[in-house]
Symmetry: none
Subunit: 192 residues, 4 copies
Amino acid sequence: MSSKSDAKRQLILEKAAEVFAGRGYRNVTMKDIVEACGISRGGLYIYYDSVEEIFEDVLDNEDSADLSSIDLTSASSVDLLLYFLKEEKKEILKKKNNLTMAYYEYAFACKCEGKADKAKKKMDQEVLILQKILDRGSESGEFVVDDAKAVATDMVYAINGMKVCAQTVGITEKKVDKELVYMMRRFMEVEE
Amino acid sequence: MSSKSDAKRQLILEKAAEVFAGRGYRNVTMKDIVEACGISRGGLYIYYDSVEEIFEDVLDNEDSADLSSIDLTSASSVDLLLYFLKEEKKEILKKKNNLTMAYYEYAFACKCEGKADKAKKKMDQEVLILQKILDRGSESGEFVVDDAKAVATDMVYAINGMKVCAQTVGITEKKVDKELVYMMRRFMEVEE
Amino acid sequence: MSSKSDAKRQLILEKAAEVFAGRGYRNVTMKDIVEACGISRGGLYIYYDSVEEIFEDVLDNEDSADLSSIDLTSASSVDLLLYFLKEEKKEILKKKNNLTMAYYEYAFACKCEGKADKAKKKMDQEVLILQKILDRGSESGEFVVDDAKAVATDMVYAINGMKVCAQTVGITEKKVDKELVYMMRRFMEVEE
Amino acid sequence: MSSKSDAKRQLILEKAAEVFAGRGYRNVTMKDIVEACGISRGGLYIYYDSVEEIFEDVLDNEDSADLSSIDLTSASSVDLLLYFLKEEKKEILKKKNNLTMAYYEYAFACKCEGKADKAKKKMDQEVLILQKILDRGSESGEFVVDDAKAVATDMVYAINGMKVCAQTVGITEKKVDKELVYMMRRFMEVEE
DNA sequence: TATGAATGAGTCTTCATTCAT
DNA sequence: AATGAATGAAGACTCATTCAT
């Protein structure tokens, strides 16, 4: 049955996501995933033929949530911006199930095969959303923005920089806050 | 003689650096390095006992150059800033021997063992240098900077973000230029 | 199923015992055992992780038989003694599956880790059984024994000496017989 | 020069003997010996081509001492016997440079090649000496011995049994004393 | 579907042995 | 004589992948 299969497939993706979060992409073997799922080696092969395939499905499984849930029609631009940054902050600092490094390892490993499109699209989408928020806020007089695209792009680079730092050299919540406040100050007044 | 050993050791480090640049950290085996060096398996073990050991030596071998070569006493702050950014741009875009991803993979893999200190120090150093340049420029009236530390930190995060992007989703020179110009505009007038 | 696994495990133990008998303990590699069993390298690792582990299981597999099969309540003490010595003679002279040297090599290799307990127990048990036989025979007037424990201990040392000789410098059946007869003469009349 | 060579050769044999005493025969590599001697790999090969060759020379180097030093013409048979047993006791219990197990491992490894002759000869010699002592004592009335050869053979087997036990399952000095006293009681009066 | 035993290829690591110096 | 770098073969161990059940 498809429903049964889907449940198992979902289980695999969830457990695999935990594994990828903990060990990155390259350090993960089929065996690791089999053990994390508590199923048999052969059992996993019924659903997936390789770590790569699983990882790609894990990514598809995650993506959906974050950005699409922002409703651009509602509320003030300031609220939208704060929501956007709060979400990013959460992602920067989250310990469990953080796929950032796995993501970049995967993209780096598959660079030549153009498999990094997903990551690229995600980034472009983030820039776009941020740009829209800034444009809206600019029109409504909430923000003072000269070149919304440039600002959005810069912010997304810096946020990505923080994400990587958080997973490698470490970063404190205070530092993230400071940086986010600094970003906002560039186009609005922030009370601290 | 030590000179002979050192030459071989240097050869290993150079060839290994190329391998790490191409395949990252985790995907590299002793065999890869052996083959890149054109020596025997046993031969490599005379000098190094593990990929980790080699990678750490590769890092030590690289580090020295970059930052210390900036002479803070000379020239105008604008020149210093341009030199700093030009160097960063070169590193962001360089294809050969780019250890960025290997670096982050290594730091992520060894996070718990505190092996990421080197990366942390490098970042802190970059922030410090940039901050000094900004402070000098601020004093001389070349820049208009409110909080030099915040600006420097933000720039380094964004630069790191670009470095990672360049190695994964890809980035064009034009985009890098735009971003760097945007950064500078925040505290000085830039003619395009 | 466990029965299938057990069969394979039993096969491994039997083939491994032959290998140990022929090559001792230290000279045996996983590869030797793999080849003797006619299975794959990986296949062996499913059941055992090291030569040591296999050897310990081989010992456990062997032990059981020998001594417990002597029924101290039956027959005359002379019969018991003869049975005991016949068994020992068989073990001294047996060519196939003789684990004596492997046993001692193992005990020597693991001396510091106290892994020789098994060998020690086996020896103590032999002394004890022999002592019991001698005591019984002494009570019944079949033997003339002053200090049964001393006699038993001496006999077991000499038997072990013969076992080692048989595996190294060689020993003829005639010599073994002579020695066993000499032992018996010390506390009973032996017709030759 | 031969004298220089001989000194080095002697150094190798002495250091190698320590290694064999500690690790047996089979567990010893050329590398172990090289390191114990503090010479270079190539340097060892000038003198010896294999572990086997070294071990054989170590044996030749040791043998000489023990038995030949007993002067059969002197003193009483009791004194000779006590001297003989004292020497054996010393060898049974000695910790440093005890080659017993290496000896047996070697003999077992080379069984088919008839390399165990040395061990065989040593044993036969011991039996012979002991037999002579017993015969002399018998003639002088110090001992009451029926079949000196049988007694001597038995004693040598038991002594060898103790030697092996000492190196594997362990043996206390008290136990050795008891056993030796028991042996003597069989043909003479022993005050305890 | 699901299991897990089995296989074999790939990598790691250690050493005996050689050889230029 | 002596050194120690270098080689390559041998053995250990792990995993992706298959397959009978």
